[in-house]
């Protein structure tokens, strides 16, 4: 393929690193030693993660647009916490979360057709399918059938078991701890809460999910490094399939961590900026690909929303914010965003969710550009899904115990470290009690 002046040239020199020489060494809490993935193949470690991480961290379970009216609700099956939640907008417009369990005999309160599946709807109260006990939208028990048959029962003591619930920029978070040690804002910290993005304008939602046989961290790691794309996705990406990238690799231009959270910024997708021969014919017709529409959406102005491009890089294309433990938001320069959720089911299994959010298309052309974007997401994600099940198998052989991570895999190293730290902290506190 011929060289073109419009093709961004990659070289290490163009991506300056911190004074220490590497991103990894810039952060004293990290080291450069090979990393163990025992925490991704051990059922015992997974049992600890349930308690240490998923019952203590704030978890994103959805967005407020999923609860448009008073009485709107959805359920979430959280296998990792062995519970189901009801998330509901009350008559006072407040969003609350409850464990999805009837106080009478423990029946799952809200479900339809299949109790293992999630459901959503709108109602004025929740009525148990079993004996008809009813709860208000704020969780209060309001009705017991044949109440006189019970023994001195006080309805006020039998409300639904509530779960801490808080909203940041329309993202609904829950915390399963009895008393969370931090508020949501404290937990998210300055790097994440600096983001002031017009999320409420991007209401066009596409939602994917997949059932994957790999550890949640093994899977997540592929979505927080840009070292693999020129190889694993090298055939389909117009930028990556250039010989230059396949020989020299792709560089993340900025890494940053803040507490348990992290961000990586890159020059982003191709965005239609290259010479036409670099694109597939369908991409040229639809003006879209890798991943989203090429033409900027209506939210794109001369200035980036606050909090984005935290490294203030000139050639900015995307930010991949990794919000601990299992939630990511990826912002793209053409004015749309993508979220990923990695829900552990077992030490070797996860539910993977991807949501793409765009501004509502104003015409067929914009709608088709979105459609190609989300189709591309699947072509890439399926390559990851296949490969990460293979990685899980390789790790589980235990033939190799530690693995070298490069500076481009900075975020993988950080997640591994934070997970181990949270589990150690939990074990220490449990021993003290």
């Amino acid at each position: 393929m011929t060289e073109s002046p419009k093709v961004p040239k990659q070289s290490a020199r163009q991506y300056p690193k911190p004074p220490e020489g590497t991103w990894t060494e810039h952060y004293p809490e990290l080291d450069t030693a090979p990393v163990s993935y025992e925490n991704s193949i051990s059922p015992e470690f997974f049992e600890l993660e349930r308690e240490a991480i998923f019952k203590r961290a704030w978890l994103n379970v959805g967005r407020v647009e999923q609860l448009r009216r008073k009485g709107s609700f959805f359920t979430r099956e959280l296998a990792v916490a062995k519970t189901s939640l009801i998330v509901v907008r009350g008559t006072d417009d407040r969003i609350r979360a409850f464990h999805n369990v009837c106080r009478h005999r423990g029946n799952k309160l809200v479900w339809s057709d299949d109790p293992h599946e999630e459901t959503a709807g709108n109602c004025r109260h929740f009525a148990c399918k079993y004996h008809g006990w009813r709860y208000d939208l704020d969780g209060k028990l309001s009705f017991i059938l044949q109440e006189g048959e019970f023994f001195g029962i006080d309805k006020a003591k039998y409300g639904l078991v509530s779960v801490h619930c808080s909203v940041w920029h329309g993202f609904i978070f829950v915390n399963l701890a009895e008393e969370p040690s931090q508020t949501l804002t404290e937990f998210l910290g300055p790097m994440i809460t600096a983001i002031d993005y017009p999320f409420d304008k991007l209401t066009q939602r596409y939602y994917y999910r997949g059932d994957i046989r790999s550890n949640w961290k093994v899977f997540l790691d592929a979505f927080q490094e840009f070292y693999h794309p020129p190889i694993l996705h090298g055939h389909q990406n117009p930028v990556m399939r250039q010989a230059d990238y396949q020989d020299k690799g792709f560089y993340t231009s900025h890494f940053q961590i803040d507490g348990p959270h992290r961000v990586g910024s890159t020059s982003g997708g191709a965005g239609g900026k290259l010479v036409p021969e670099f694109y597939n014919p369908i991409e040229r017709v639809m003006r879209s690909g890798l991943f989203g529409p090429w033409d900027p959406s209506e939210i794109v102005t001369g200035e980036l929303p606050p909090g984005l491009n935290p490294g203030k890089k000139k050639n900015w294309g995307l930010d991949s914010f990794q919000i601990f433990p299992n939630f990511a938001i990826v912002f793209w320069e053409t004015g749309w965003y993508l979220t990923y959720h990695y829900w552990p089911v077992a030490h070797d299994r996860l539910l993977f969710e991807a949501n793409a959010y765009f501004t509502p298309p104003r015409n067929v052309r914009e709608r088709l550009a979105q459609q190609l974007g989300i189709a591309t997401i699947k072509e890439y994600a399926l390559e990851d899904c296949g490969t990460l099940e293979a990685t899980q198998m390789g790790l589980e052989s235990r033939v190799v115990s530690t693995f070298p991570l490069g500076d481009q895999e900075f975020m993988c190293r950080h997640l591994n470290r934070v997970v181990n730290n949270w589990v150690e902290d939990y074990k220490r506190k449990r021993a003290e009690d």
């Binding site: 596409y206 999910r209 997949g210 709608r367 699947k378 296949g386």
Partner: protein, 111 residues
Amino acid sequence: MADAALPAEFSDLERFVQDWCLDSEPERYAKRLASTMDEIQAFYDAVMPRAEEAIRYLEKFPLNDLPEDAWRLLKLLYSLILISFPVEIWRQPRIPDTARAQFELKIEPVP
């Protein structure tokens, strides 16, 4: 044509309506996997050269108020997008190395 499924300008594509006008991404992906490359290529070769013209035709309508025949034409374009990958990249219906993996679009806007 009395029972035309597509706008008259696109009557040459009528023969694809039954197989490729599908309502959801899982149906479209299943159809892709169930098709031979010859079938996929024939659909691509017929629709791809008409894609720009189809978009210009569809742009005349408000997106949320498409006539039935226009909506069917748009669904053909959704299928074109999904089968463009086998034709332009993979040379086979399935993405390589994804025999077991599944990842389905559960919510997609209509239209």
